[in-house]
Structure formats: structure tokens, C-alpha cells
């Protein structure tokens, strides 16, 4: 005999429907599994979204920091370039500004004893330090030959007279020229 089940003779109801088969329990189970799965995915999505927002904010801050650092570097570079340019100019000027003592010695040696030099002036151009404005006041009988000798002597020092002018003022001949250094 199987498990005892108490008898029943109540009046059967007419408004009942057949019970669903047990295999149909899979439907609500799948529904709840899907619900839990969806909730899990949505929760993870939410947290990932929040995390992405935080990362985005951090990235924005990093970008701003990098941009400010880049701008600072650019400004520093520009300043350095400016300084370098100035230094280059100074270096160029220094390089162009050669000693004038050899010129004075050459002039002195090129002039004969009977010719007197009353005045010698050498003025360096600020813009082009290699160029020198030469002014000589000579007093003597052979001034022209003396001037040629001076030009030759300066030519040995690789200076060439540019736009020489002579002016006679009584016994004194005033000589003006611009000495331009020639490249070797």
C-alpha cells in the first residue's frame, strides 16, 4: 500500500482549472534568473558608469595639468630662445669686434717720418662691429702716397676702404673711410 491519503467526498468545485505541469516551473525560474541577471548587469553597468565618470574627471584634470605644464614649457622655451637669440647676437657682435691696435700700428708704420698725423680716429659701428669708421688728419707734402700706403697696410690686415673721402683743409688733409673686413 502506498502512502496513506485521506478520502474526500466533498462536492467538487466546477470553477477550477487544471494545475500547470511541474515542468512549467521553469518559466518563473527563468524569469527570476533573467531578472537577477539583468539587475546584476544594470548594477555593474551603473558602477562602471560611475567609475568611468570618475576616470573621465581625473583624465580631464590630468589633461588640464599637462596643458598648463606644456604652456609653461612653451613659455620657458620661448624665453630661452629669446635669450639664445640675444646671446647669439652678442656672440656675433663680439666675434665681429676685432682688436683695433694692429690697425693703429699699421697706420703708424705706413706713414713716413716727414708726414705728421695730427689725428687718428677709429669708431666701431654698433650695428656691424666688423666695420670701422676711420678718420685720419694728415699734414705733409706726400699725403696722397701716404694714404695709399695706409690703405695697402690695412689691406694686409684684410681691411678694405669703403667709400674713402679726402678733404683738404689748409695744410691738413682729412681722410674719412669705412674699413670693411674681408673674409679670408
Amino acid at each position: 500500500m502506498s502512502e496513506y491519503l485521506c478520502h474526500d467526498f466533498k462536492t467538487p468545485r466546477t470553477d477550477t482549472s487544471r494545475r500547470l505541469p511541474s515542468s512549467f516551473r521553469a518559466i518563473p525560474i527563468i524569469f527570476y534568473v533573467a531578472l537577477v541577471g539583468s539587475a546584476y548587469v544594470m548594477t555593474m553597468d551603473y558602477f562602471n558608469y560611475k567609475k568611468a565618470l570618475t576616470q573621465k574627471t581625473e583624465a580631464e584634470e590630468r589633461r588640464k595639468l599637462s596643458e598648463s605644464q606644456r604652456d609653461a614649457s612653451k613659455a620657458e622655451k620661448a624665453e630661452l630662445e629669446s635669450e639664445a637669440f640675444k646671446a647669439e647676437k652678442v656672440a656675433e657682435w663680439m666675434e665681429g669686434a676685432r682688436n683695433i691696435q694692429p690697425i693703429a700700428v699699421k697706420i703708424a708704420r705706413a706713414v713716413q717720418a716727414e708726414t705728421r698725423i695730427t689725428q687718428v680716429a677709429l669708431e666701431r659701428s654698433e650695428q656691424v662691429p666688423a666695420n670701422l669708421a676711420l678718420t685720419i688728419h694728415l699734414n705733409g707734402s706726400k699725403v696722397s702716397s701716404e694714404l695709399s700706403a695706409i690703405e695697402n697696410a690695412l689691406g694686409q690686415l684684410l681691411y678694405r676702404s669703403y667709400s674713402p673721402q679726402q678733404t683738404k683743409n689748409g695744410d691738413v688733409v682729412e681722410y674719412h673711410s669705412t674699413l670693411v673686413r674681408q673674409s679670408e
Partner: protein, 289 residues
């Protein structure tokens, strides 16, 4: 309506047994739910409630007919159950008879409810409701016939106090069935060739005699009352003499008052009767099985 059906599927309610599905034990139908058990005898009504954990709680008894007790106890009873569902044991206006060669099968019980003529044939009576208990080893069967009018009146009375009977059964017959199964199991799947089984339930008495492995006689009486020990003995004594001396005598009983059981066991002890009674047996049978 569609929403209710969807809700019932998603809450798994659609897969649970209906509260009045007789194919499912009462305890399983009302798992984790309160339910009410009512026993209707001639001249008295008793009841017991089962809590959500399946344990028995408060009960009570009232003298009088169900139609008188129900209006007075309706509120109390409704508070003891969920949805108004209750299990009812009717313990009077029934006859238990011995039959042979009745139809057996898995659908026999449901067929007996829906089309009793197909099971009983010419023995079917229109004004009766039936239940059946087969002998585990032979072709004999115990057939319970209850007045249909009593069943309907009982159901109607309960409906007037908003209670819905999930089961209507006969407590005495249920105890007989339970005792037969217990004896069968206690004897390792067989029954003693000779025995007498006495069942008493709330003033109803049933005595079954088995001789040489066959059910030979059944006597039943209802409306005895707890003090009718002498009347009960008059029914039992002739049947005890039918079995050989030393044959097992089994007694099983339950009732609100233990007086009947105590007094009758004083007499039955003399013939070596075994008392199979357990606490709250009637309520256990109709509230769990």
C-alpha cells in the same frame, strides 16, 4: 484576470495544489499556512487549528448541532485559518459495508467522486457519497456511504460563516483506513490472518473482523456518545468471539473526552487488546494525510 494568472505563475501559486485538491495530502496543501480542522458528530462539534509550522494549536468542543455552533464560532474559526479553508470530518449518518471485487486502480478514488456508478455499479445509491478502502492482500473492500444531504448541509452551513470546506471526510473511516495501513506495515507488508480492529471516534464506533486472511464482518454505529460503553461492548463482544483465542485485538480511538477510551480499554485489556491510539490521532489523520 490575465494579470492574476501571471502573478500566480510568477509566485509559483499556479503550481501549488488547490486548497481542495483531494489528490494531495492536507499537510502539503497547507504548507506554511494556517488551517482549521472540524469534526462534526451527532450532538457535538469539535475543532482544532494548525499553525503555519504544521503544529496543532488551540481547539475546542461545543455541544449541539453544527448549524447551531457555526454562527457562534464563525469568527473564531475564521481567525484560525487562511482563506476560510477547513477540513471537515463527518462522524454520523454513514454506513460502512464490506464489498468484494470492486474496481481498483489509480483513478478509482477520483472516479468514485465524479462517477460513483462506474465504480459501484448497481450498488450505487443516488443519495449517498462514497469512499473506499481496499484490503491490501485480497479483493475485499470497505465501502463508506454517507448521506449526501448531510454533506451538502454541512458545506452550506460552513459557507454561511464564510468557511470553505477543502475536504469532507469521515473521521471514523479515516481512522480505520489508517489503522489497517499501520497493521499492514507493522507486520512487514502482511496482516495477521485473524484480528479484530476496533475504531472509536467522537462517539462513533467501527469494528472490523478478519478471519483467515479475509475481512469477514464490519459493524459500525454512530452517535453513541462518550458514556455508551455498554452499548459499544454489546457490538464488540459477538465479533470478538468470531476470531480464535489469542488473535490480535487492536483498538484505535480518539475523542475530546478520554473517558470512553479509558473505560472500554479496561474491558479490552482482558482479551489482550493493543491500543494503537496516539495523541491527537484524528486531527493528525485529517490534518496531515
Amino acid at each position: 484576470m490575465l494579470l492574476d494568472e501571471i502573478k500566480s505563475v510568477l509566485s509559483f501559486a499556479a503550481f501549488k495544489a488547490d486548497p481542495d485538491d483531494s489528490a494531495v495530502p492536507w499537510g502539503k496543501r497547507y504548507e506554511a499556512r494556517k488551517s482549521l480542522l472540524i469534526n462534526v458528530s451527532r450532538g457535538s462539534v469539535s475543532w482544532r487549528s494548525i499553525n503555519k509550522r504544521g503544529r496543532f494549536e488551540e481547539g475546542g468542543m461545543q455541544e449541539g448541532e453544527l448549524a447551531d455552533a457555526a454562527p457562534q464560532r464563525g469568527d473564531e474559526w475564521r481567525g484560525m485559518c487562511e482563506g476560510g479553508w477547513c477540513s471537515v470530518s463527518v462522524n454520523h449518518r454513514f454506513i460502512i459495508s464490506l464489498e468484494n471485487n470492486l474496481m481498483r486502480g489509480d483513478n478509482c478514488v477520483s472516479l468514485l467522486r465524479t462517477n460513483p456508478r462506474a465504480v459501484l455499479g448497481p450498488k450505487y445509491d443516488r443519495g449517498k457519497r462514497y469512499a473506499i478502502c481496499h484490503h491490501p492482500e485480497t479483493t475485499a473492500s470497505l465501502l463508506l456511504a454517507v448521506e449526501e444531504s448531510l454533506v451538502k448541509v454541512t458545506e452550506d452551513v460552513l459557507k454561511t460563516v464564510n468557511l470553505k470546506p477543502g475536504r469532507v471526510c469521515c473521521g471514523l473511516f479515516a481512522m480505520l483506513e489508517h489503522a489497517i495501513l499501520s497493521i499492514f506495515r507493522a507486520n512487514s507488508g502482511g496482516t495477521p490472518s485473524n484480528f479484530v480492529l476496533i475504531a472509536a471516534c467522537e462517539g462513533s464506533l467501527g469494528v472490523l473482523v478478519q478471519q483467515e486472511g479475509q475481512w469477514r464482518d464490519i459493524r459500525c454505529r454512530s452517535g453513541l456518545g462518550p458514556e455508551a460503553v455498554e452499548t459499544a461492548l454489546q457490538i464488540i463482544s459477538p465479533l470478538l468471539s468470531k476470531v480464535p483465542e489469542g488473535s490480535p485485538i487492536y483498538f484505535i480511538g480518539d475523542g475530546h473526552d478520554n473517558k470512553f477510551r479509558t473505560e472500554i480499554m479496561l474491558h479490552l485489556d482482558k482479551v489482550g487488546a493493543s491500543d494503537l491510539t496516539q495523541d491527537d490521532l484524528l486531527w493528525t489523520i485529517i490534518g496531515e494525510h
